[in-house]
Symmetry: C2
Subunit: 229 residues, 2 copies
DNA sequence: GTATATTTTTAGGTCAGACTAAAAGATATA
DNA sequence: TATATCTTTTAGTCTGACCTAAAAATATAC
């Protein structure tokens, strides 16, 4: 049905339109050609080329010089790819014992194996997980995501206990750094002190006190613990 | 390193050279262009084309009009692909609950995901199986196959109890037929009567008596049970 | 041992997916 | 509004992997 290259474009467009989205309804935001070229490390000319093919296949809406947005069909494909990617990540970490910073590229390959039966069986085998090892929500078979309260650590009020639930950056160096400072999904964290000079902060990670940079804090997502009465 | 198309050619050449092989040592038999074209459902011209690329990459030895054979490098690649293919088949059947006639095409996709780490972890996760769901041996990380006594059911002496250990034909219709007549890997089987007129035979499959055709019998591999004193 | 048939290769073309360089459209600035 | 800049598209190439038709090499048959 769709080639690997096409699927990778669809994913990139989905990702960019999610970022750009002004939180509208089920519509996809319009993405400029250049943004796609940057995201995919390719030339704008190649992007125009491919966009025209995707448009022929009704996966995107395209108007010359106006950028591109996903059609319903394109969005469904994107969400399926995301589902497969994240399920494979869970498999690789939970079942095969990979570290969370090692699984992205492998999942990138595995996600292109198209089979609804395989996806659904894998999902069941893993116990229908709602989140992947990085805390990203896994869409269900109907494409619905589980929503969750989450804020960047920079928005957490001091002395409010919270749980680490995700990250906003998935690069291996960043994840390795989190390992080094003891930050992992499901760990309890709270802010002790904030330094407005450089946005760094002193945090308590399950008893361990650490100073972390604003850059790191911005990319850690937490869910404040409900106060116990 | 190698593309999907190249890998599929290497697999086909390996398969054909195994069939043609006069049981020599570690060498690969020479395979004619046409045989590859048939095996891959493509034209002889395309095969010549690809063979030349494979030869440039030192994956095959090639002499014009003389056919091709795998180099050591090519044979290593072929065995790795076979290992991955068969490990994924075990995963699909044992862990995800697929039937043995459903897994070939999916494994065909999954085998192209190249990662030694993934392969070895998958192998360990599955308990380092020695045979896949069709009874075919799975090469270990060094490329060595586990050998086994096995003969086609047509060679089994009457009234000799044996265990079904494999099949020589992997098509879904054949495997489904085996399901229908109650033949499965690890089941006990013995021949009651042979009809030389059409090579059919009356067999006992764990207590159930059945008449099976010569065509079916030829494609069932069994291991005679050692006689208990 | 020549003629015929089969196999294999070459020649030339297509398509997907990339590229660079140049042209055209859109946007920002004086 | 005119000009400069930035973005996007077009034009023209390249490579991998296929194709068909024709030519060349090998195998077979009389």
């Amino acid at each position: 049905m769709s080639t690997r290259a096409e699927e990778n474009y669809i994913k990139a467009i989905f990702k960019l339109s999610e970022i750009a989205k002004p939180k509208h309804d089920g519509e996809s935001a319009t993405v400029p050609t250049n943004a796609i070229a940057q995201e995919m490390h390719t030339s704008a000319a190649s992007v125009t080329d491919m966009i025209q093919r995707l448009s022929d296949k009704k996966l995107v809406d395209y108007e010359k010089y106006r950028g591109v947005s996903l059609t319903d069909k394109g969005r469904v494909l994107a969400v399926h790819l995301l589902r497969r990617h994240r399920l494979w990540e869970v498999f690789l970490v939970e079942k095969l014992g990979f570290a969370w910073n090692e699984v992205h590229d492998l999942a990138e390959e595995l996600e292109h194996v198209e089979s609804t039966d395989l996806t659904d069986r894998l999902d069941a085998f893993l116990g229908s997980p709602k989140f992947d090892p990085h805390g990203d929500p896994i869409p269900n078979a109907e494409g619905k995501f589980t929503l969750r309260h989450q804020v960047p650590l920079t928005d957490l009020l001091p002395e409010t206990p919270a749980i680490v639930v995700g990250v906003r950056e998935h690069s291996s160096p960043f994840l390795t750094h989190l390992d080094e400072i003891g930050v992992a999904i499901h760990k309890e964290i709270s802010v002790r002190e904030r330094f407005s000079y450089d946005d760094s902060m002193r945090v308590d990670i399950e008893g361990e006190l650490r100073t972390i940079s604003g850059k790191v804090a911005r990319n850690i997502l937490v869910k404040p613990k409900p106060l116990v009465k």
